[in-house]
């Protein structure tokens, strides 16, 4: 499916089928979650990253069903490039009203980057000034987990992680998504 068609679908769903909530409410709620995790794990940022990823994973497992229902998707994407376009132009569009750029494909078409020009989670955010958060905390790491969980349900095992974040002073916010394998159908157990 062409990228422009995906954009049109995303736009259409966003306008007609999505209940909107206040963006600041989302920003503040997410910020509270991250702040609480930092407190609970005593600023062990790698652990906070892991917890965010895990929370996202559990969200993704369910969110995919809502995505499929809202987008009326009846069949799978035919290749990983199409999947990437649908993630950006339909998935991110309908749930966060953003369309990160899909870019930096590897030659084998198994790995791409999502570059976030805007990120509603990170509005008003400054990372803690303790000399470590800037290097260790991936503030929006929940998104990696969401993608991992959602794609697993449609039989794609992926690995996702951030490689840069404007909050850390980088020029862009970029997530790397790599397809590990397509998961086979589960077979019914053999009868004894």
């Amino acid at each position: 499916m062409a990228a422009s068609k995906a954009s049109r679908i995303g736009e259409e769903i966003w306008k007609t089928r999505i209940d909107k909530v206040n963006a600041e409410l989302v920003t503040l709620t997410y910020g509270t979650i991250v702040a609480q995790l930092c407190k609970d794990f005593e600023d062990d940022y790698p652990e906070v990253n892991r917890q965010l990823d895990k929370m996202g994973y559990n969200i993704g497992l369910r969110l995919i069903e809502d995505y499929l229902a809202k987008s009326n998707t009846m069949k799978r994407c035919s290749n990983f490039r199409e999947t990437a376009d649908m993630i950006s132009r339909v998935g991110f569009k309908i749930f966060l009203n953003i369309t990160p750029q899909v870019t930096n494909w590897t030659a084998d078409n198994n790995s791409f980057s999502l570059v976030f020009d805007e990120n509603p989670f990170a509005d008003f955010v400054e990372l803690p000034d303790d000399g470590r958060a800037q290097n260790e905390l991936w503030y929006s790491n929940i998104l990696c987990g969401v993608l991992r969980g959602a794609l697993e349900m449609v039989q794609m095992q992926v690995e996702a992680h951030f490689i840069s974040d404007v909050l850390r002073g980088n020029d862009t916010t970029e997530m790397r998504v790599t397809l590990i394998r397509y998961i086979d159908d589960e077979l019914p157990p053999e009868d004894d």
Partner: protein, 146 residues
């Protein structure tokens, strides 16, 4: 149109929901041929799974198995991209129920099962599926068709 029974199978091939709308049996008529025991669920899954695989082999990956018909009943099948399978058995005269099964997925499964925060993600043994909203919604929807 008469709906006899309805099944949902999860991606682990387990039957997570069964419901039957058999009319009460009139004495003197032959017993209904379509019972809903757990062996039946296994048989049905085996059948639709094989048919679906065969259909894809012959017709390409984009082809979908939709229904089959016997002298007694018609079986309708719908599979979501997340490998959730819906099966409905109706009388032989009914039109395609693919759209109906899709609507059940969108309006009932996603709304009342997936979005129920207390329902588990995996529905082992049907956990989380047999909640009141889903049951009522499904029953009303199906009776509305008949």
């Amino acid at each position: 149109m008469v709906v006899y029974s309805f099944y949902i199978f999860d991606r682990h091939t387990e039957c997570v929901y069964v419901k039957s709308w058999m009319p009460p049996q009139v004495p003197g008529t032959p017993a209904p041929v379509l019972s809903t025991g757990s062996d039946n669920a296994k048989l049905i899954f085996g059948t639709v799974f094989s048919l679906r695989n065969m259909v894809r082999k012959l017709g390409g990956d984009d082809d979908a198995f939709i229904s089959y018909r016997t002298g007694q009943y018609k079986l309708h099948f719908y599979e979501t991209p997340a490998n959730l399978r819906f099966v409905m058995i109706t009388d032989t005269g009914s039109a395609s129920m693919r759209n109906v099964l899709h609507q059940i997925y969108i309006n009932l499964w996603v709304e009342y099962v997936v979005k129920n925060p207390l329902a588990p993600v995996e529905h082992k043994g049907g956990a989380g599926v047999n909640n009141e909203l889903f049951e009522l919604g499904l029953d009303q929807f199906i009776r509305g068709l008949m």
